[in-house]
């Protein structure tokens, strides 16, 4: 008998809220705290109604201090709780970086596993919402570069739910990056039936034979739109959504690139020393003999995040991806972009 599904329209924000609710309900050790997460429900309303429904003991506002929030979470996790804390915006998490880099990431290692930190740091993340300065950083590389942290970013509402549930259940600390621009995007899904892949596995969002586009979080819908446009011109792009940056799913990415022979990596973040660089390196290390062209990165520029009116020029869009597809040497043309007028002093 076919299973009945109850797929309904769900936003990523609702999916995250439901994940927090279900975790709070199922596990008394789960606590939610941060700035404005109580009666307000968070500035993005991800914790909407949690204080009302689970009480102040389970979901509460702290004094305004990110180092304090994460430091408190470390102590509470040591004491047997499972804190899920919210940083209000990506760029406002930096005061907590000391706690994250020195303690959250290292406690298991320092104590040979005698102390562990099952905690989640939720971060509204990346751009595309016209935010004024400090409201749109792509900070994934700082976290991904810090051994001991798992780093997650969902691109769909379904993944937002399951990845957050997995993150909360994980024995290790997880930095959970929520693409702000996707909070309000809707999709049909039934959150009571797991359709999502296991934690740590990348998803092939679209199959294609000509080139692999690796993306994560906010770049996934852009990559899919580019694939749609490329298909109209007869080029079939395969789109891989990483879902978890750490752990990194070499297997899925490698298998795809070996099939297609070409690879593009898309990220919103500035390109230099970014996650895309890591992916490109891993792909060429593993797929060198399958590659017909260099692995290319499509990224934001190496600039501080622009003001709202210039955001569009910075963020990789469909056109920038398609330009890169053109440079994948289908006609065996070398990449001469670095010779563009003005590129050399």
């Amino acid at each position: 008998m076919a299973e009945t599904t109850k797929a309904t329209k769900v936003t990523m924000a609702q999916a995250l809220n439901t994940a927090l609710r279900d975790a709070l309900r199922e596990d008394d050790r789960v606590l939610v705290f941060g700035e404005d997460v109580g009666p307000l429900g968070g500035v993005f309303r991800i914790t909407d109604g949690l204080t009302r429904d689970f009480g102040e003991e389970r979901c509460f506002d702290t004094p305004l201090a990110e180092a304090g929030i994460v430091g408190l979470a470390v102590g509470m996790a040591m004491g047997g709780f499972r804190p899920v804390v919210e940083m209000q915006f990506d760029a406002f998490a930096y005061p907590a970086f000391e706690q994250i880099a020195s303690h959250v990431a290292k406690l298991r290692n320092r104590t040979r596993g005698r102390l562990t930190l099952p905690m989640v740091i939720r971060v509204p993340y990346a751009g595309g919402i016209g935010g004024v300065e400090h409201h749109c950083d792509s900070s994934e590389a700082y976290y991904a570069h810090t051994p001991g942290l798992k780093v997650v970013t969902p691109a769909t509402a379904e993944d937002a739910y399951w990845l957050l549930r997995d993150a909360i259940a994980d024995p290790d600390p997880v930095v959970f990056l929520e693409p702000k621009k996707l909070y309000w995007s809707r999709e049909d899904t039934d959150l009571e039936r797991r359709g999502a892949l296991p934690f740590g596995r990348a998803a092939v969002r679209r199959e294609g034979r000509d080139a692999t586009v690796v993306a994560y979080g906010p770049s996934v819908p852009v990559a899919l739109a580019a694939a749609e446009a490329a298909a109209a011109e007869g080029i079939e792009l395969e789109v891989v959504d990483l879902r978890t940056i750490v752990p990194f799913d070499d297997e899925t990415v490698t298998a795809s690139v070996r099939r297609t022979g070409r690879c593009l990596v898309v990220q919103e973040a500035q390109g230099f020393a970014g996650v895309g660089a890591e992916i490109a390196a891993r792909v060429q290390e593993r797929c060198f003999h399958s590659l017909a062209a260099p692995v290319l990165r499509v990224a934001g520029f190496d600039i501080p995040y622009p003001p709202p009116k210039l955001e569009h020029a910075h963020l990789p869009g469909v056109d920038r991806i398609l330009d890169a597809v053109d440079r994948l040497q289908f006609g065996d043309e070398p990449d001469t972009r670095h010779l563009l007028k003005g590129a050399v002093a």
């Binding site: 305004l64 004024v132 003001p307 709202p308 009116k309 910075h314 590129a343 002093a345």
Partner: protein
């Protein structure tokens, strides 16, 4: 130290038990004027009144422009004008100000072109005015980080043998950040000529003061660091100006930093994007409406014969002209230049930035071409 001198030291650092106040809510002078502070001259109060009328009008106009989509966001300081104006009028033009996102009215009072003040919120660039020329640091969003910068600037001025003072503006919520505490400590140890001015408007977005601190008042945060502290009725311009003038003089004279907490209230939501009904009730807002700083100063000045109907009308007229000019200039579309994105990252762009600049130029040229087709 003898017990007696210890007691004197402690007393000298502690704030007065209740906020310093000269004028009651209805505009009448308090029965017993606060000891140790000089009441500002009527002339100074007249000027402050004019600035408050202008500041209030600027603020409501900015809110209106936001509703019309001309600003990405606007954090209003309506209700906090006594603080915004008092802070600036207590400073000399060569003193430095380190403001937050909430302090646009202070910047306008400082004489910065209102359009340049709003560049950040209009989304054209991160800072629209020249901080070096105006001695106003870029409005700061990462909370409390600017407080340390003010200490550093004060220390720089001291070392150069200048008698300039730096004033840091900071909110009640931001006093919970580590940087705020480090700034107080550094300033006290260095005896830096800096004034920390906390606008306690009772909320950090939705979080009320009671969840922010268990101290009897934020002004008590000074004593632990050896910083002289005071608290003031932040809706009484007369008191704010008197206390801040005294604090600035203390710092300028080389006696070290001062922390001043102003008790005020954020009449509007945190920003236009916020829904304040989720966390505070209308009664509370209404009660604070009765404590309005502008009508209080007006009543006070009128009672002292320092303000006529004609003066008030003139101030209103000037404010309307400011608002009209702001509307005209803010309603003109601006075109931010994408190429500028690469100009100010380093003194000289790196080779990679040059490459990326060329790439963007090519992308934009291509887009322009396809749009022509």
């Amino acid at each position: 130290m003898s017990v007696k001198s210890l007691r004197q030291t402690v007393q000298g650092l502690l704030p007065s038990l209740t906020p310093v106040r000269f004028v009651a809510e209805d505009g009448t002078p308090v029965a017993k004027p606060p000891a140790g502070y000089r009441e500002p001259s009527v002339e100074a109060l007249r000027e402050a009144y004019r600035r408050m009328v202008l500041g209030r009008r600027f603020d409501t106009q900015a809110t209106a422009l936001t509703k019309q989509g001309r600003l990405a966001v606007y954090p209003s300081s309506r209700g906090q004008e006594a603080c915004q104006i008092g802070a600036v009028l207590a400073l000399r033009a060569d003193d430095w100000l380190f403001p937050t996102y909430r302090d646009s009215v202070a910047l306008v009072t400082r004489g910065i072109d209102p359009v340049e003040v709003l560049t950040l919120l209009r989304g054209d660039w991160h800072c629209g005015y020249d901080p070096a020329a105006t001695r106003v640091a870029p409005q700061c969003t990462p909370l409390a980080t600017q407080v340390l910068h003010a200490v550093g600037m004060a220390e720089a001025q001291r070392r150069k043998g200048e008698d300039g003072v730096a004033m840091a503006l900071v909110g009640d919520g931001a006093t919970s950040e580590g940087d705020f505490h480090e700034a107080l400590n550094f300033a006290a140890v260095l005896r830096a000529p800096v004034v920390f001015f906390v606008q306690n408007n009772k909320y950090a977005i939705s979080v009320p003061l009671a969840r922010q601190t268990a101290a009897p008042a934020l002004a008590y945060k000074g004593i632990g660091y050896g910083v002289r502290s005071e608290q003031v009725d932040g809706n009484d311009l007369v008191a704010v100006l008197a206390v801040l003038t005294d604090a600035v003089a203390h710092a300028r004279a080389g006696h070290g930093p001062v922390l001043v907490e102003a008790h005020t209230y954020r009449m509007d939501a945190h920003t236009n994007a916020d829904d304040a009904t989720r966390y505070r009730d209308a009664d509370e807002v209404e009660r604070w409406g009765a404590a309005d700083p502008l009508s209080r100063l007006e009543a006070h000045l009128r009672a002292r014969g320092g303000l006529t109907d004609a003066d008030a009308a003139a101030a209103r007229e000037e404010a309307e002209a400011l608002a009209a000019d702001l509307r005209t200039r803010m309603n003109a579309d601006t075109t931010a230049d994408p190429m500028e994105l690469f100009d100010h990252v380093y003194a000289e762009p790196t080779p990679q930035l040059r490459e990326q600049r060329a790439q963007l130029a090519a992308e934009l040229a291509e887009t322009a071409l396809t749009q022509e087709d």
